[in-house]
C-alpha cells in the first residue's frame, strides 16, 4: 500500500475517532442523567429479592468475582491452585442455597430472583446441564448403532434449525401442556431446561468436531494396551477431544450468557428484563441510552471475564505447559 494513502487513512480515522470520542465524553459527563442507573443499582444486581435478604445474592456475586480474580492472577501457592477447581464447582450449590434459602436461611421463591444474579444462574445452570447432554449427543451421533445415530442427529439438526426464542417460547408456555396436570416445573428451571436443550445441540457439534480431530491411531494405541472401550473413551479420546473443542465451547458459553437476555422478551426479569421494568417507572421514562450503555458495559465485562477464564483454562490444559 502506498505510504501516503496509508497516512491519509490514519489521519482520517484519527479525526473521526477524535470527534466521536469528544462527543461521547461530552455526553457522558454533561448530557447523561445517570440517576436511572445509580438509584436502581441493587435491582440490576439482584432483582426484586427481598430487601433484607439482598446480602445473599450479593455475597454470592462477590464470591464469584473474587474467585475470578483469584483464578486469573494465577496464585503461586500450590495448595491454592489445587483447591481452585473444587471451589469453582462448589459455587453452584452455594449459589442455589444462598438464593433459595432453607437450611437456616429464609426461603425465597424463584419468582423473586432477578437481575444479574438470575442471568448468571441461568447461564451456569443451563451450561452445567448442556455440557453432559451435548457430549452424550455427540457420542450418540458417532455411534455404530443406527437408531442411536439417527435419533441423535435428528435432535441436533432440529434444534439447530429453530430460533432460540422459539425454543424458549416452547419452554415457557408449551412445556406445561406436555406435562401431567398438577406437575409444575418451576419457571426458572423451565428456562434453564429450555436453554440447556438448545445449547446441547450446539455443544454436541463442537464436541463431535473435537472427536473427529483425534486420529484413529490414538484409539488403537489405547486399545492395544488392554483398555476397555469405555476406558479408551474416558481416559484417552474424550479428554483430548474436549481440549480440542474448548475454544468453540468457550464461544458457546459466552453465547449462552448473552442469550439469557432473550428471556426479557418472555417476561423473566433477568438483567435486561429488570431494566425494561425500570424504564416503565415514570421517573425514568426515556432514559434508554443510559440504561443500554450501562447494560452493555455489564454484559461486556461478564462476557470478557468468562472468555478470559476459558483462555486461562486452555493454557492450564495445554499439555506442553503441564509437561514443563
Amino acid at each position: 500500500m502506498n505510504r501516503w494513502l496509508d497516512r491519509g487513512i490514519t489521519l482520517l480515522l484519527l479525526a473521526l475517532l477524535g470527534w466521536a470520542g469528544w462527543s461521547i465524553l461530552h455526553w457522558l459527563l454533561v448530557g447523561a442523567d445517570w440517576s436511572v442507573v445509580t438509584t436502581n443499582l441493587p435491582l440490576y444486581a439482584v432483582g426484586s429479592f427481598p430487601a433484607d435478604q439482598r446480602w445473599r445474592p450479593l455475597l454470592w456475586m462477590a464470591a464469584l468475582i473474587t474467585l475470578t480474580l483469584l483464578t486469573l492472577t494465577g496464585p503461586k501457592r500450590g495448595w491454592v491452585r489445587r483447591w481452585l477447581p473444587l471451589v469453582w464447582i462448589a459455587m453452584a450449590p452455594l449459589g442455589l442455597w444462598l438464593l433459595a434459602g432453607g437450611l437456616g436461611l429464609l426461603p425465597v421463591g424463584t419468582r423473586s430472583w432477578g437481575g444479574l444474579t438470575l442471568t448468571l444462574l441461568l447461564t451456569g445452570g443451563s451450561g452445567a446441564l448442556a455440557l453432559p447432554l451435548g457430549i452424550l449427543l455427540a457420542l450418540g451421533r458417532r455411534s455404530e448403532l443406527p437408531v442411536l445415530r439417527w435419533s441423535s442427529a435428528a435432535y441436533i439438526e432440529l434444534m439447530r434449525a429453530v430460533p432460540l426464542i422459539a425454543v424458549l417460547f416452547f419452554g415457557q408456555l408449551l412445556i406445561p401442556l406436555f406435562l401431567p396436570p398438577g406437575l409444575e416445573i418451576n419457571r426458572v428451571l423451565r428456562a434453564v431446561v429450555a436453554f440447556a436443550l438448545f445449547a446441547a445441540a450446539y455443544i454436541a457439534e463442537d464436541v463431535r468436531g473435537g472427536l473427529q480431530a483425534i486420529p484413529p491411531t490414538q484409539r488403537e494405541a489405547a486399545a492395544v494396551l488392554g483398555l476397555s472401550p469405555r476406558q479408551v473413551l474416558q481416559l484417552v479420546v474424550l479428554p483430548q477431544a474436549l481440549r480440542v473443542a474448548l475454544p468453540s465451547l468457550t464461544n458457546q458459553a459466552v453465547g449462552l450468557l448473552q442469550n439469557t437476555s432473550l428471556m426479557a422478551i418472555l417476561g423473566l426479569v433477568e438483567l435486561l428484563g429488570i431494566s425494561r421494568s425500570l424504564l416503565a417507572n415514570p421517573a425514568f421514562i426515556g432514559r434508554y441510552l443510559e440504561v443500554y450503555l450501562w447494560l452493555a458495559a455489564v454484559y461486556w465485562l461478564a462476557c470478557s471475564a468468562m472468555a478470559l477464564l476459558a483462555r486461562h483454562l486452555e493454557v492450564q490444559l495445554d499439555p506442553a505447559r503441564s509437561a514443563s
Partner: protein
C-alpha cells in the same frame, strides 16, 4: 466402540422418562385451583410489571400498583396472608397461556373483559367484577394540530401488540375507512418510547395508561389525549373457566372491596368496626359481611372473616384506588366512572346475603 456410551444414554433416557412417567389422565384435573392455592399456602398471580399505577417494580424491589393490590387482597382472602403472593410478570401475548397451563392461579394484568375471552369457544376464562373502567384513547402532541381520528389518516400509530388495543384501533379506523400504519411494540414502555421519540403521530392505549404515561413526561402539557374514545375497556381479573370455586372466590373478594367502601370500612377502622359489630347484634347485614355471624365465607370455601383479612391488608377499593391512582399518587387519574354507583360511577357490589 461406543457400546458403553449407548448404555449411558439408555440410563439417561430411562431417568428422564421415569421423571415424566406420572402419566396424565383426565381424572387428576378434578380439584379446584382454590384448594391447590390453599394447600400451597401461596398465590401465583400474573401481573404486567410494566404499567405505572397498576403494577411496576419500585426501587425497593417490590411490585406495587392497583393490579398488585388485587393479588394481595386475593391472597389475604385465600390463605390469610397478603404477602403470600408470588408475582409473575407476563407479557400480553403470554398471559392466557400462562393461566391455562397452570403457570399462574389468577391473572390481574390490565385485562379487558370481552366476549371471546370469556366464552367456552374462545379463551374460556372466568372474569371477576370490573376493577377499573377504562376506555381506549389516543394521545398526540398538542402542537401537531391533530384533534380527531380523521386527522390521523395515513399516519403511523404506536400500539402494543397482541392486545385488544390493537384490534380496537383497527376497528376504529376501518369503520371510518381511514388508512393508518400500526407500529407494534411488546409493551407500553416501548410504545411510550416510540411515541416520545417521534416515530408515531399518536400512541394508543387505555386512557388510564395514557394518563399514567403522560404524568412521567418531562412536559406533560405538551401532550393531549384526544376526545375520541375508541373502545370501552372494563379491566378485570380472571381465572380459568369452569372452575367455579376459584371464580366465585375471586368475584366476591372484589365485591367485598367495593362493599367495604360503600360501608365506609377502611384499613384504619376495620378492627374497630368488627368490635362494634360484635357488640351490636342488631347490625345483621354488617355482621354477616364481616363474618362475625358465620356462613358466607364458608359458602365460598374461604374463612368466614375473609373480608376482614382483605380490608386489613389492602383497605377498601377506594383506598386502593387513591393509593395508586389518586390525586396524590405519581399517576393521577380522575376517578370518573370508577366512583361508587351512589356517587355517579359504575362501581357497585351485589348484596352480601
Amino acid at each position: 466402540m461406543f457400546r458403553s456410551s449407548s448404555r449411558v444414554l439408555i440410563v439417561a433416557l430411562a431417568g428422564l422418562s421415569s421423571f415424566l412417567a406420572s402419566c396424565a389422565s383426565l381424572d387428576s384435573a378434578a380439584g379446584s385451583r382454590l384448594d391447590l392455592v390453599k394447600a400451597r399456602g401461596e398465590l401465583l398471580c400474573g401481573v404486567s410489571g410494566k404499567i405505572p399505577g397498576f403494577s411496576f417494580l419500585s426501587p425497593d424491589g417490590r411490585y406495587t400498583g392497583l393490579d398488585v393490590d388485587i393479588c394481595r387482597a386475593m391472597a389475604a382472602a385465600f390463605v390469610s396472608d397478603a404477602e403470600k403472593v408470588q408475582y409473575r410478570p407476563l407479557t400480553a401475548p403470554e398471559r392466557f397461556t400462562a393461566l391455562r397451563s397452570g403457570e399462574i392461579d389468577l391473572l390481574s394484568r390490565n385485562t379487558t373483559h370481552t366476549l371471546s375471552r370469556d366464552a367456552v369457544g374462545g379463551n374460556g376464562l372466568r372474569f371477576g367484577p370490573v376493577v377499573f373502567h377504562d376506555g381506549q384513547g389516543l394521545m398526540v402532541n398538542a402542537a401537531s394540530g391533530v384533534r380527531s381520528l380523521a386527522d390521523l389518516s395515513g399516519k403511523a400509530i404506536c400500539v402494543g401488540s397482541g392486545t385488544t388495543t390493537e384490534q380496537n384501533l383497527n376497528d376504529a379506523f376501518a369503520s371510518k375507512g381511514l388508512p393508518y400504519t400500526p407500529i407494534k411494540y411488546q409493551d407500553l414502555n416501548q410504545v411510550v418510547g416510540g411515541y416520545l421519540q417521534g416515530r408515531c403521530a399518536a400512541m394508543t392505549s387505555d386512557r388510564s395508561q395514557l394518563a399514567a404515561a403522560r404524568s412521567g413526561f418531562s412536559d406533560p402539557q405538551a401532550h393531549q389525549i384526544l376526545y375520541d374514545r375508541i373502545s370501552k375497556e372494563p379491566l378485570a381479573p380472571a381465572v380459568v373457566g369452569g372452575d367455579q370455586p376459584m371464580g366465585d372466590a375471586m368475584t366476591w373478594v372484589i365485591n367485598a372491596l367495593i362493599e367495604a367502601e360503600e360501608r365506609g370500612i377502611t384499613q384504619a377502622n376495620v378492627d374497630a368496626v368488627v368490635k362494634q359489630a360484635a357488640a351490636d347484634p342488631s347490625q345483621t347485614a354488617l355482621r354477616r359481611f364481616l363474618g362475625v355471624d358465620p356462613g358466607l365465607g364458608r359458602k365460598l370455601g374461604l374463612a368466614d372473616d375473609f373480608v376482614v383479612q382483605v380490608i386489613r391488608s389492602t383497605g377498601n377499593y377506594g383506598e386502593i384506588y387513591n393509593r395508586h391512582l389518586g390525586p396524590d399518587s405519581a399517576v393521577a387519574i380522575p376517578r370518573g366512572a370508577n366512583r361508587l354507583a351512589g356517587e355517579g360511577g359504575l362501581m357497585i357490589s351485589p348484596p352480601f346475603t
